[in-house]
């Protein structure tokens, strides 16, 4: 049972805009996978909901005459993953969408909600950033288009106004043609996760498939909003894919562009390690997906080559602990101040 004052099923986008503008406390709901959780927690309790769940035009995924891809904001994650246009042109977005929550969430949750939530951890956000996608918003005065990179204002905040409905995302042909991408969601477990870090790399190789002609690198949870690392991209452009230094160049430059924070979920240091490691791995995978042989792509180099015995060998048989500290035993009263001994 949810604490809802009213529930209005909008007939069209315009109808939804009207309903929102008439009630400043109304909330938009589509898949409900975030809104209902907030309601359950008592946040937004008593809200009036305006549903755009059944507006079929919002679920469309299509390609226009210029090759621009238009993804309806109401498309669910599983719609996106399984869509042939997505698979053919921007498969990495489908892969990213497929890492969200579990199957039930992916069938209900929408890409529009994922972005409009304003969360840096949204799995589709970093990928849309890498595509320079445009967000289409419909309000009282008609539609406006905003680059997704300018859509976020801060954690949980976007430029969407209360009475605006996000209707679609647009990706131009030049942003995807010839690119191959790889998204890595790093979570604490293998499913039902929120990203500790999300990393997407998309590459376009030269005609001979030897060099990185163009590249995109973006992260989720590497800062208060998703972030794209343009300097890191520039640093490896034109480099040879057989050159192992591409990985360090990309990751080390990326580290100068990100700003993850420490929280109880993960420390900044740990997130920086992930940023460094995942950017390397995502780059290599993206290159491999471009149709080159594994042997033609440089291996990622790891500094330390010491083996698993070295640590053991360092701790030689010795009496160090005991000898160094002498008699270190706590007596009963010191170990258990003030207590009775109930042996």
């Amino acid at each position: 049972m949810f604490d809802i004052r009213s529930f209005y099923e909008a007939k069209s986008v315009e109808d939804a805009v009207r309903a929102l503008s008439e009630d400043e406390n109304a909330l938009l709901i589509s898949g409900g996978t975030d809104v209902l959780i907030r309601l359950r927690e008592g946040k937004d309790a008593g809200a009036s909901l305006v549903s755009i769940h059944n507006i079929s035009e919002l679920k469309e995924i299509r390609e226009d005459e210029n090759g621009t891809l238009i993804i309806g904001a109401g498309a669910s994650f599983s719609d996106i993953t399984n869509n042939p246009i997505v698979k053919k042109n921007i498969n990495v977005l489908g892969e990213a969408a497929d890492t969200v929550g579990g199957p039930q969430i992916r069938n209900m949750g929408t890409i529009g909600g994922n972005i409009c939530n304003g969360a840096t951890s949204a799995d589709t956000a970093s990928t849309l950033w890498s595509f320079n996608a445009t967000v289409v918003l419909c309000g009282k005065d008609g539609a406006r288009e905003i680059p997704v990179t300018e859509f976020y204002v801060g954690p949980g905040r976007t430029v969407r106004k209360h009475d605006e409905v996000c209707t679609a995302f647009k990706i131009e042909k030049k942003e995807y043609e010839g690119f191959y991408g790889h998204y890595i969601k790093y979570g604490k477990r293998s499913a039902m996760e929120i990203a500790t870090l999300g990393c997407v790399v998309r590459v376009k190789l030269s005609a001979d498939k030897k060099k990185i002609e163009d590249i995109r690198l973006a992260f989720g949870v590497a800062g208060p909003t998703p972030v794209r690392c343009r300097k890191a991209e520039e640093a490896v452009k034109g480099m040879d894919i057989s050159d192992a230094s591409i990985y360090e160049k990309l990751s080390e430059t990326a580290l100068t562009e990100v700003n993850p924070r420490s929280s109880w979920r993960a420390s900044k240091e740990f997130r920086l390690q992930l940023i460094s490691e995942l950017s390397k791995r995502a780059l290599r995978e993206a290159i491999l997906k471009s149709g080159v042989l594994e042997s033609e792509v440089a291996e990622i180099r790891y500094k330390n080559e010491s083996d698993n015995e070295s640590k053991a060998n360092a701790e030689l048989f010795s009496r160090d602990v005991y000898a160094a500290e002498g008699v270190y035993f706590n007596d009963g009263s010191a170990a258990f101040p003030g207590g009775e001994n109930n042996a």
């Binding site: 604490d3 109880w264 030689l316 602990v321 258990f336 109930n342």
Partner: protein, 832 residues
């Protein structure tokens, strides 16, 4: 055995798979009221006042009660049998709602309303004024000088109990052992290591939340239907909490969706009853949320183990010492029992040449209350023993498997304190079996001197576990059997089905002992304390053993009573029987029996010649053997055929049952009821072997292969046993790698009391779980069985830890070994 040992389908399988099995919430009446609890938003302090004005205005609110309104009765909550000895009684340290706030989330008020939304709204609108004290979330802070006592009336120093135990004589000390060792082996040949190991605060994560509904009837009887493991204990504790006689309380326990020890505590049942009493006895439902369940019910204890080990250069274990500090949170719940259990197994598991010393302390802190959880302190104990064992091997170079085979507890072990014996000893066989199955020796050799950022390792851990709680506490169980007109029966156990398969194994036991077939035994799954015989409930891996003994004893009595009636039917020239529809059948049976046994006309038929098999009264095999010997001393071939079931069959049990019910000569409703006071115990044991891969730059551990080998005696139902082990292994996997309830040390507020942020392993994180058993017939078990319920949850975590040590040379001392902790450790070791 015919039925015991068979992989029969669970008796509740169809109901549970189709969703027709009814749980607490499925049974509530229409028009029920809904309650919700207001929890404190400070961790330490006192409620000064409430402002209920706004909350009472919410439409639909029926009643609001606060900590100022509840009975002035302090009560215990532990699912222990009540003790009639004052010194062994559980600590009465809470009221139904508490003015003295002891952790973030303490229960301070409750709302009853027409629906859940109104109740939730009103709870949000209650204003509370507190007097705040500094939260003391950690053991260190709770023991610090000047720390506020959380229970001023009971413990001024926040120490619930501390205890001291030894092996190697009462006056054994580690310090003296060192001097002795130096003298015996020479200073250069002995070593001491000192390590501190830590275990996490863990949530049980049973699927069904603690839910109950209560009403008071016209006669003042208070009935609570609830999701509990321990209906009879809930009855007594609720009576204490309300200050009413126990007879006024009735607990009904239907199917429950898991408990794992959290429901081995009295949770919100007393509050639920109190709320119904406050609204004129109307039914009130109280279901708490997952968030409340995680932080406001019970957790597994976080225990810090400061360990020392003394050993020789060639890896002989001489002595160990443990100082364990258990963070018990705000209320005593099971008190010191869990940390003491942890200490007991620490000293028992290895045969230290000189001895072992254990100090345990259980401490109140202003954090979520720790109570019982599957394996009751032993996952912590085994984390300590098994980390320590491999850390010793790391220094001596001894193979960890060999070390354990040489140093683990020996065959014939008897705990010097409790006198609990290890009656059937399968520990070493388990180790050898696991070693073979995982290909230990090949892998230890193959994984030497690895380089690179991804490495493989293999590790192991052993454990022991007692069966039930005798003699530390009372072990008693009851069973009732009731015959139906068709020769089938009801089986009524005080022991509870909590998802583990108890109903099924008791049905198998009853079938084994009575001769009534498995599918003609209707087990009454619901316990209703007004009619169900007494049993303390599901915990301590006790029911198959302790309640199983009651089932067997009852089955024997029931069988005797049936045979006594059968004898009566066959012996007596019952005027009545000759008139019944069964007259011919009984007559023929009598002739067949006399002929088969070669009985002369004047020889009486006696009960000892009879038996029950496949729902029929048959000629006892032993009697046939004697008969056969009398008739023909030379020819024994074809004996089995000649005296098979059909040859010995007299008449169907339904004939007897129908007669016994309705005989005008001797009507008797055949039933049996027994209580069995169990005064035995025996150790179960086992081990885990894990083969893992570590991706060091990401701190990612992938379990490639994992196997548990259990020494739990004879399995009643091997398929169910295997499933039991799977569930336990999954829990230990979470303990090792991902599960941990985190609390903000400054405020006492839980960070991750929800299932997104509290990481139980998903199916995608769970490897193929392999299970093996060493089945030895334990003489103390009713059917050769011993503990299995909890042991599977013990050894996986330390086996993985030791596999990581093997792979990387890095010893992780704190569980869970999260990616972040691993990355930090690998960086410190300069591996990445």
């Amino acid at each position: 055995m015919k039925v015991v040992g068979k992989e029969l389908t669970r008796v509740d399988a169809y109901g549970k798979v189709t969703g027709e099995a009814r749980y607490t919430a499925d049974l509530e009446p229409k028009g029920i009221l809904h309650a919700r609890v207001l929890h404190s938003e400070i961790a330490n302090g006192v409620v000064k006042s409430f402002d209920l004005t706004e909350a009472l205005k919410v439409p639909g609110v029926t009643k609001i009660v606060t900590c100022f309104d509840v009975p002035d009765c302090q009560f215990p909550t532990a699912g222990h049998p009540w003790s009639v000895e004052k010194a062994h009684q559980d600590i009465c340290d809470r009221k139904i709602l508490n003015r003295r706030v002891r952790f973030y989330g303490d229960d301070i008020a409750a709302v009853v309303a027409e629906d859940e939304v109104a109740a939730a709204r009103a709870v949000r609108l209650i204003k509370v004024e507190y007097e705040e004290y500094e939260p003391i979330v950690t053991v260190e802070k709770a023991l610090a000088e000047g720390a506020t006592p959380l229970h001023e009336d009971l413990r001024k120093d926040n120490i619930i109990v501390k205890s001291h135990m030894t092996m190697g004589g009462a006056d054994f000390s580690f310090e003296k052992a060192y001097d002795e060792a130096v003298e015996k082996y020479g200073e250069e040949n002995v070593n001491v290591i000192e390590r501190t190991y830590n275990t996490p605060r863990i949530s049980h994560c049973h699927l069904e939340l603690p839910v109950s509904w209560a009403y008071v009837d016209q006669n003042g009887k208070i009935t609570i239907t609830c999701s509990t493991q321990i209906p009879h204990i809930v009855k007594l504790c609720t009576a204490m909490a309300l200050g009413v006689p126990a007879g006024r309380i009735r607990i009904v326990k239907p199917y429950i969706g898991g408990g794992f020890g959290n429901k081995q505590d009295v949770l919100y049942e007393p509050l639920n009853a109190f709320l119904s009493m406050q609204v004129g006895g109307r039914p009130v439902r109280l279901e708490i949320s997952r968030e409340e369940t995680i932080s406001c019910t019970r957790t597994r204890h976080a225990i810090e183990g400061r360990c020392r080990a003394l050993f020789t250069r060639d890896g002989r274990l001489l002595a160990r010492k443990l100082e364990a500090y258990a963070n018990n949170g705000a209320y005593a719940s099971h008190g010191h029992a869990i940390c003491a259990n942890c200490g007991t197994v620490f000293k028992d598991l290895y045969a230290d040449e000189l001895g072992c010393e254990v100090d345990c302390a259980t401490v109140y802190t202003s954090s979520p209350t720790a109570g019982a959880m599957r394996a009751y302190g032993i996952p912590q104990s085994i984390w300590f023993t098994e980390c320590l064992a491999d850390d010793i091997c790391q220094i001596t170079g001894k193979d960890p498997c060999d070390f354990r085979l040489e140093s683990c507890m020996k065959e014939g072990f008897v705990d010097p304190g409790t006198k609990i014996p290890f009656l059937t000893y399968g520990l070493k066989k388990c180790i050898e079996e696991g070693r073979k199955q995982i290909k230990w020796d090949e892998k230890r050799a193959a994984y030497k001197n690895q380089k690179g950022h991804i490495r493989r390792g293999v590790g192991m851990a052993i454990f022991c576990y007692k069966t039930g709680v005798h003699p530390i506490s009372l072990e008693t169980a009851s069973c009732r059997m009731v015959l139906n007109q068709d020769g089938s029966m009801q089986l009524i156990m005080g022991a509870t089905e909590i998802g583990q398969g108890a109903d099924t194994v008791f049905t198998q036991m009853a079938a084994e002992t009575t001769g009534i077939s498995f599918d003609k035994i209707y087990v009454v799954s619901t316990q209703d304390t007004d009619v169900t015989p007494f049993d303390t409930g599901a915990y301590a891996s006790r029911q198959t053993y302790v309640s199983g003994k009651a089932c067997k004893k009852c089955g024997e009595l029931f069988r005797e009573r049936i045979l006594e009636y059968a004898e009566y039917m066959l012996v007596n020239e019952i005027p009545d029987i000759s008139k019944t529809i069964y007259a011919e059948i009984v007559k023929e049976a009598k002739e067949k029996l006399k002929a088969k046994l070669g009985l002369s006309e004047d020889k009486d038929i006696s009960r000892s010649m009879l038996d029950i098999e496949n729902d029929c009264i048959v000629i006892n095999k032993d009697a046939v053997d004697h008969g056969a010997v009398n008739n023909d001393t030379t020819n024994t071939s074809g004996h089995d055929e000649a005296f098979g079931f059909e040859e010995r069959k007299l008449f169907e049990l339904s004939v007897l049952a129908d007669t016994s019910f309705y005989s005008l000569d001797r009507s008797q409703h055949i039933t049996a009821e027994v209580t069995n006071h169990c005064k035995e115990n025996t150790f179960a044991s086992g081990c885990c072997f894990a083969d893992i891969e570590v991706d060091m730059p990401l701190g990612k551990v992938t379990v490639k292969e994992v196997i548990n080998v259990h020494d739990s005696g004879i399995l009643i139902n091997p398929k169910l046993a295997e499933a039991q082990v799977h569930g336990g292994m999954s829990m230990s996997l979470g303990f090792g790698l991902s599960e941990e309830l985190l609390i903000d040390e400054k405020t006492g507020k839980p960070y991750n009391n929800n299932l997104l942020d509290y990481k139980i392993p998903t199916a995608a994180d769970t490897p193929d779980l392999k299970v093996s058993f060493i089945q030895l017939d334990d003489p103390s078990g009713p059917y050769g069985n011993k503990a299995l319920g909890e042991p599977p949850a013990i050894p996986v975590a330390p086996a993985i830890r030791n596999a990581i040590l093997n792979a990387t040379g890095v010893a992780m001392n704190e569980a869970p070994m999260t990616a972040e902790r691993l990355v930090k450790a690998f960086k410190d070791a300069e591996l990445i």
